[in-house]
């Protein structure tokens, strides 16, 4: 089992306008986009959303295949949503009589509507995670949530935890690989047997991994303290996030999109 070729998150490196947007703006715009998708009252209203997502993804130069990958784990839910709506919704204009159920026009429209909504929601969020490195995303979230410090929400601590996790995931993977090889050399078998046998085989892997993680955590805490870490208080940052022209343009585009969605919903 090759553990070292696991890529972190699903970031697709690039230097497009979408990649360069301020992460805070991107997060807020995603929320706006989600609102827009929920606002869409009919199928026509999805047209501007689809056009917008198409435009942004082509701007970002992320391959369509990568975008669609995000849908794969959801395929069963998608099909289920579609079929349940199709068969069980009551409507006025029958399209097809299957004997056990009657498919109506209204049911078909609703089925398409709900599945499309789900697809668009996933695609919109994928666009954010595909064009923003996890660490930048963390940064953006920290800044957005920092006003909540007033009510003792640990925004800085959460971001620090995230970034330490990101730093140590490759290190821990390497270590897991090493321990697995060592245990395999002693005759351990991680790949055959039923579920219980395999779960049992993981014990000699997880125990040393846990022990060493705790030691690492202790070491790291000591090293951080030695480097004067004392929480978010009075801390400055190397990377400061700044909104630029690009970000304002993006905000404008999303505002227009919401207007278009609302308009389309009215026209119909």
């Amino acid at each position: 089992m090759a553990l070292n070729d696991i890529t972190l998150g699903q970031y697709y490196p690039g230097d497009s306008a979408v990649h360069r947007l301020d992460p805070r703006v991107k997060i807020l715009l995603l929320i706006a986009l989600i609102v827009a998708i929920f606002l869409a009252g009919n199928l026509l209203a999805y047209v501007p959303v689809i056009l917008f997502l198409g435009l942004v993804s082509s701007l970002s130069k992320v391959p369509v295949k990568m975008m669609l990958k995000g849908l794969k784990p959801l395929r069963f839910i998608l099909i289920l949503t579609f079929l349940l709506n199709l068969f069980f919704l009551q409507g006025e204009t029958p399209l097809l009589n299957l004997g056990f159920a009657v498919i109506t026009k209204e049911a078909l429209i609703t089925a398409v509507h709900y599945s499309l909504r789900l697809v668009l929601l996933v695609l919109a969020s994928s666009l954010l995670t595909l064009t923003t490195p996890p660490i930048t995303l963390t940064d953006g979230l920290e800044r957005l949530l920092s006003p909540l410090r007033a009510i003792h929400f640990p925004a800085h601590e959460m971001a620090m935890m995230m970034s330490i996790a990101l730093r140590f995931i490759p290190t821990l993977l390497e270590e897991t690989d090493k321990i697995m090889k060592a245990q395999t050399a002693r005759g351990a078998d991680f790949e055959s047997g039923n579920l219980i046998a395999r779960a049992k085989a993981m014990v000699p892997l997880l125990v040393p991994l846990f022990v060493s993680s705790f030691r690492r955590a202790g070491d790291l805490a000591m090293a951080m303290e030695a480097r004067c870490y004392h929480g978010g208080e009075g801390r400055t940052r190397l990377r400061v996030l700044k909104c630029g022209k690009l970000d304002y343009i993006a905000c404008g585009c999303v505002a227009l999109l919401i207007a278009a969605v609302v308009l389309c919903g009215k026209v119909y």
Partner: protein
């Protein structure tokens, strides 16, 4: 010039009240700009002493002063840690950020250095340890020696006056050890940064100004490398071996070659042999 920068005055410390003392009545003075080594076998209290100096622990008895500041006083803690930085043993467990230059920035962020000032200080620190070209790399893609040099840069960026190295080469291969040693020597020589070098490699201690030998929490011997390593027999009770060149000199002497006392490094040995061959 002989201004003391780190002073331990009859310092004792134990991890739990009933337990044995990890550090017992240790007194130590390190002059500004000098290079001191602390030697000792496993569990002799070296790391504990280092952490006492850095203010990570405070002494149970006695007093530790760094740059004139008492470590017991909590007001001084951050300033002491800035001025006397520390580099640890495990290269994997002391880098915090996902990118090298951001890791170097970590300390600066903690002490509130203005953002505009950071890039310049990071660049200088990375250049000083020869890691500038790796500024954009992820730590896990670096070798052990390179990781340690990044850790040094992280301390260096904070413009310390002294750096304590707690067995910082112990987990490295010979190549990595040489890299790190060379970087530290250069910092000591060119920038006058005081170095307290904790190790159990004898050969790393031969080129420093003062060696302190720790055993069961006490400093049992202090002196120049020549004084300490003059007599291998004196090191035996502390289960330490003389440095390789001192042992070689001993053997050559027993074979009848009149190698003079105090030959500790490869260079000195080469010179001495050349002298005898003339």
């Amino acid at each position: 010039m002989a201004e003391p920068i780190i002073v331990a005055d009859h310092v004792s410390f134990s991890y739990d009240d009933e337990g044995p003392q990890a550090v017992r009545d240790v007194s130590l003075t390190v002059q500004r700009g000098s290079f001191h080594a602390i030697l000792g076998q496993n569990g002799s209290g070296k790391s504990t002493l280092a952490k006492l100096i850095n203010g990570l622990y405070t002494p149970g008895a006695g007093k530790v002063t760094v740059c004139g500041m008492d470590t017991q006083d909590e007001k001084n803690t951050w300033e002491i840690r800035r001025r006397a930085g520390m580099v640890f043993q495990n290269p994997d467990n002391q880098l915090v950020a996902t990118v090298v230059n951001e890791d170097v920035a970590f300390g600066l962020e903690n002490i509130g250095v203005p953002t505009e000032e950071m890039p310049g200080r990071i660049e200088k620190a990375l250049r000083d340890v020869g890691m500038l070209e790796f500024a954009g790399r992820a730590p896990h893609t670096l070798s052990g020696g390179q990781k340690q040099r990044v850790a040094i840069a992280g301390v260096l960026a904070m413009q310390p006056e002294a750096i304590i190295f707690d067995e910082s080469t112990a987990m490295l291969d010979p190549q990595g050890r040489r890299e790190v040693m060379a970087a530290v020597r250069r910092l000591n020589r060119e920038q006058g940064i005081t170095v307290l070098w904790i190790t159990h490699f004898m050969e790393e201690a031969v080129e420093c100004d003062q060696v302190h030998l720790m055993h069961e929490g006490q400093i049992v011997m202090s002196g120049t490398p020549k004084e300490i390593f003059a007599d291998a027999a004196k090191l035996k009770p502390y289960r330490l071996d003389a440095p390789p060149m001192a042992r070689l000199a001993q053997r050559l002497r027993s074979q009848g070659m009149p190698i003079r006392q105090g030959v500790l490094t490869v260079d000195e040995m080469a010179e001495e042999v050349a002298r005898l061959c003339r």
